[in-house]
Amino acid sequence: MLKIITIGCNELALLGRDKAGLLVLFLMPAILVVIITLVQTNVMERTGLAKTRVLFLDLDGQAVGSALYKFLNTENLRLVGGKKKEKTACDLEKAVRNGKYQVGIVVPKGSTERLRRNIEHLFAEHDRKNEKKPLKEVRLHVFFDPGIMPGLRAGITARLQMTVQTISLAEKFSVLERMLKKASAELNLPTEGSPFSTVGLRELLVRPVFSLNDNAATVSSDSGGYDPVQQNVIAWALFGIFFTAIPIAGTMIKERVSSISDRLATLPVTPLQLFAGKIAAYVGVCLCQFLLIALLGVYLFPYLGLPSFTISKHPAGIFLIMLLSGFSACCYGLFLGTACKSFEQASTIGATTVVAAAAIGGVMVPVYAMPDIMQRASIISPMNWGLSAGQDLLMRGSSFSAITPDLCRLALFCLLMLVFSRLQQNR
């Protein structure tokens, strides 16, 4: 045990004096997690996964404007009132075209009055002779950021159309209700038993009778849902952790090239003790990497306008995921170190495989956003196992048992890499 500790301390001393290695292990994932989270938050806004900011300029100031505001200001859209900087439709258009907002809506002055006049016109008996005369429609002005995703644009347009239909339908029912009441009074019909005796016809007809069961509702209540901070802190911590494979491989190759490994082979220390010492040191480094990135998520992200990272519900589970991922990365590093002939070879193969595993595993782009074939391929990436387990705990609100298969895969990967490393070493 003392020898393992000595080997571990020696590895840390060597790493501590390798400035480039430290930068790769700590600075690179720290920078990436900040940049990618900020970028991804913006992408989420643009794809509608986060609340889309809509600049709303109500020049009407009456029923149509307030009804539009009420119907549109839902959990997916965040309406921001204009009139501060953007006082006219031109200002609003400019703000949207500049990308400050994804959508801009202008309710022109007199919209409510025009809507009511149009509906009165539709129902008025004395205008029947002018039936074919076109109505001057209420025209809302909608502006989209040119960079908005087509799917999000279509969704917002559909919601807007539904909203204006609802508003005009409600207005039509109001007029109809008034007309029916007037007709009933003129004919002295009893009002009792009629559908609008207690509740207004307008209210009755616009009352919802359908509901959509959103799949997201099946997620347990203690999960936070998709969140770029939760996703990226775990993802980029794993990316950094797997990069430790390169310095481990590097030290092993240096030891081999300089015959230190020959000297060590003649000392009373076993190859497994040597492996264990290196693994112990670098797993510690991996946990420090995660701690650093988690602290950035907790303390720095709120300053950048991002939500704070939290693992308060599953600290033990997340620790276990990071620990096993660290072991996997270290064992992969041992394998690279024994299989590669030069440091250049190890760093090229190591960096390529780690980046490829990160891309396949959903670190850079969420797995669900990948083509079908890549989604199926993601299962071969150890980073996907760690990430998937992390998402299960932090975003899907799953229990510990749900992540057990992923943890077993990581453990099996460690074991295989260790066996391959020993076989390579014996060659």
């Binding site: 020898k3 000595t6 060597l14 300089s258 082979a265 000392l267």
Partner: protein, 251 residues
């Protein structure tokens, strides 16, 4: 030389590397007595390093047996590792650690504990004439300093059997002289030394017996003076040419 006196014994070692034309070792047989200073000489590719690597347990032969102080490495590897040391041809040291840190690390790997470790590290630094430079990084040391440290790192456990693979390659005369002195002293204290070198004069000066290896076989062994007189050669260079020819081996 009876069996009890033999420190290093190789019996019919055969080693064939993959994709190599001939065997690196071909029925290589050698006996080195306890306390002896033995030089293994030969041209490049003759099999010196392979023989040394097998003798100190770095890898196994395809056939044949090795015994160190009568112990079989296959069965008593741990015991042998406590009494054996090897000085590789390359500078087998961590360049980003200081001289003392290197010796501390290798000393701990030998299982030396606190007081004993401090004592041995100080003694080895003294032997190498590096006491004043103990906190210097290996990367900032001269070639001679590195060579000397490379040697003393193998003396931390006070080995009974010491293997040296060209320990004086590429260093100045002063460092070489110091290394020679230290090796003589170590040998006088009872350590058996098996030594390979391309400096034939050095071998003649240091070794009690030498062996000439060629094509993986030990072609001749004996005291340097005896070999010179038997073969009618004036120098060890001539002796080597006499037994191995003048043809380039690595061309």
């Amino acid at each position: 030389m009876n069996d009890l006196q033999i420190a290093i014994e190789a019996r019919g070692l055969i080693k064939q590397y993959k994709n190599a034309e001939g065997p690196a070792l071909d029925s290589f047989t050698l006996k080195v007595a306890q306390g002896e200073f033995f030089g293994l000489l030969g041209p490049n590719g003759a099999g010196k390093t392979t023989a040394l690597s097998i003798l100190c347990g770095l890898f196994s032969p395809d056939a044949g047996n090795v015994f160190i102080l009568g112990m079989d490495p296959k069965q008593q590897a741990a015991k042998i590792k406590q009494i054996l040391s090897m000085v590789p041809q390359e500078i087998a040291l961590y360049s980003s650690l200081t001289l003392r840190e290197n010796l501390n690390f290798f000393g701990k790997m030998y299982g030396l504990q606190a007081g004993r470790l401090r004592e041995r590290v100080s003694r080895c630094l003294e032997i190498a004439g590096l006491t004043d430079f103990s906190d210097r990084f290996v990367s900032s040391c001269s070639g001679g300093m590195r060579r000397r440290l490379n040697l003393v790192a193998a003396l931390l456990n006070e080995p009974k059997v010491l293997f040296l693979d060209e320990p004086t390659a590429g260093i100045d005369a002063q460092s070489r002289r110091l290394i020679h002195e230290q090796l003589r002293q170590i040998n006088q204290q009872g350590t058996t030394i098996l030594y390979t070198t391309h400096y034939l004069e050095e071998a003649g000066e240091l070794c009690r017996r030498i062996g000439i290896i060629d094509n993986g076989r030990l072609v001749r062994e004996g005291r340097p003076d005896d070999l010179l007189s038997i073969s009618n050669c004036g120098t060890l260079d001539e002796l080597l040419f006499h037994f191995t020819g003048t043809q380039l081996r690595d061309a």
